[in-house]
């Protein structure tokens, strides 16, 4: 299967599935269309820089943006949802040794209405995919998705199965991919730190990576 190349898969499936209402998915289409031959991350940064330059002209709103981003990145509440064995590592991450609570994220809300982050932790079977998509759609707006484990990224060891979705980014937009089978809790924590950087970029914080 050619599904290892995830950018290719994403572009192909974005034409099949109507994802036009997701802002970040639109951004990724721009990426493919603009023929920059660049990674999506760089495009995100350029986009953030444009927005930030516009916003810097307005001093008051820039300040508000900073405060709101600060609030969002220090209090990311995940949904209690685990699909397969990666969820065991998720529990390990929230317990004593690794302690995601240091970043203010130990509040696992059982309802998607009160949460900001969806961990796709494990194999997404085709029966589970509509439920997962619905769970994502039930979350209120500033929301992020982290796909954890090779199953959630590309189908992993089940890539030839008739029952398994090859990559969760076919149905919902994904912000961070964490490879591993399952990834260690350190990798999860690293993904949380990357997500915090991403949230910072959504506002005026563009210092990461661009000033090099």
């Amino acid at each position: 299967m050619d599904s290892v190349d995830k950018d290719k898969v994403t572009v192909i499936d974005a034409t099949k599935i109507d994802t036009s209402k997701y802002k970040r998915e639109v951004k990724r289409e721009d990426d493919a269309a603009s023929q920059l031959k660049s990674t999506g991350l760089l495009n995100t940064l350029v986009y953030a820089k444009d927005r930030a330059e516009k916003r810097d002209q307005n001093v008051i709103l820039a300040l508000v943006d900073q405060v709101v981003n600060w609030g969002r990145l220090c209090s990311i509440w995940p949904v209690t949802s685990g699909l397969a064995c990666c969820a065991i590592e998720m529990m390990s991450m929230s317990m004593g040794h690794y302690d995601i609570a240091r970043f203010g994220s130990e509040v696992f809300r059982a309802t998607p209405r009160q949460s900001d982050l969806l961990f796709v932790a494990g194999t997404v079977s085709k029966r589970m995919a509509p439920r997962l998509k619905r769970l994502y759609e039930q979350m209120p707006e500033p929301k992020w998705v982290i796909a954890v484990g090779s199953c959630a990224i590309s189908g992993g060891p089940f890539v030839d199965s008739y029952a398994v979705l090859t990559g969760v980014d076919k149905i919902i937009p994904v912000d961070i991919y964490v490879p591993g089978c399952p990834p260690r809790p350190e990798a999860w924590l690293y993904s949380m730190i990357q997500l915090r950087k991403l949230i910072k970029e959504e506002g005026v914080g563009i210092t990461w990576g661009l000033d090099k």
Binding site: R72, G96, D99, E106, R109, R113, Q114, D116, P140, P142
Partner: protein
Amino acid sequence: MIFENIYEIIAFILNSAGILQYMQSYSDALGISIAPKLIIILIETALLLVGVALMVMALTWMERKVLAHAQARLGPMITWYHGLLQPVIDGVKLLSKEDLMPKRADRWIYFIAPMIAFVPALLVFIPIPFGRDGAIISDLPMGILYVMAVSAISPIGILIGGWASDNKYSLLGALRAVAQDISYEIPMVLTVIGIVLITGSLSLQDIVLFQDKIWFVFLQPLGFIIFLVAAVAEMARIPFDLHESESEFVAGFFTEYSGMKFAFFFLAEYAHLFSIAAIMTTLYFGGWHGPMIPMIPPIITSIGWFTLKVLVIIFFTMWLRATVPRVRVDQILDIGWKVMIPLALFNVFITGLLVAGGVL
């Protein structure tokens, strides 16, 4: 100077600063002589609101830290010193979150339910004496009756919140929560009758003054145990947290609430925790009584003692949450109706006998 309540303290401060005279002369000239009174009452309200909000924020931080350290974790660490700004950050995030409303929800009732749940938890603080020499908003003659009556309103907010969200989990969770609240309010009121029998007064200030020599926790040990269990149930803390039964109903009655409306339910929960701990302190632990420290005004010392006792009780409930599992719904109602109420009636009987015999 001896003050009756906070109103007089604020009036005295304004008077000695010379502001009150200006306000009175201006309002007399304009023909609205009630204006200074209204302004002082507004200041009082703002004080209460800010005090309770600060306390609630401190409690959310404390809960996360106590739970974390009980489980050998650290808790929030990155926001200022040991995560002290975490409640502020949660507030900012919840304010900027999308406010969803289910399509078939009952709009107005859905909108008003968090307020109905939150306001009674705030009103409860009116007759509670926070300290001596007038650190009380109003010393109502029927104080404890007022407290019980007002705190019985908040289940209505829970029930209509669960009803209006048009969600089966919300409705079932709300029904459970209200069943629990109602069944544990009865033993709570019955144990309070024992104290009222001894003091002969419903005023909370009188009840505190009566505990000058000995606290009621020693005079009413059975009543205290019943009150403690009923209070943990009323606060919806872990052994009895049917309000948010995560493993059965997604998040109880506020499953569909997001953003600031959810934050209001959250605030109401912690304000309720604070208010019930304050009532327990007033009734059983001598209120603001404690050794007075020289050189510090007694009003500040007594408020400090009151706050310390309240925090110890709240710490106990958090400890309980980190320790014990949850009880099933039928077991909770069984305990409430078959054990707690007969024991509370027995407590009233014994206390009545002792009071009639002149022992207490």
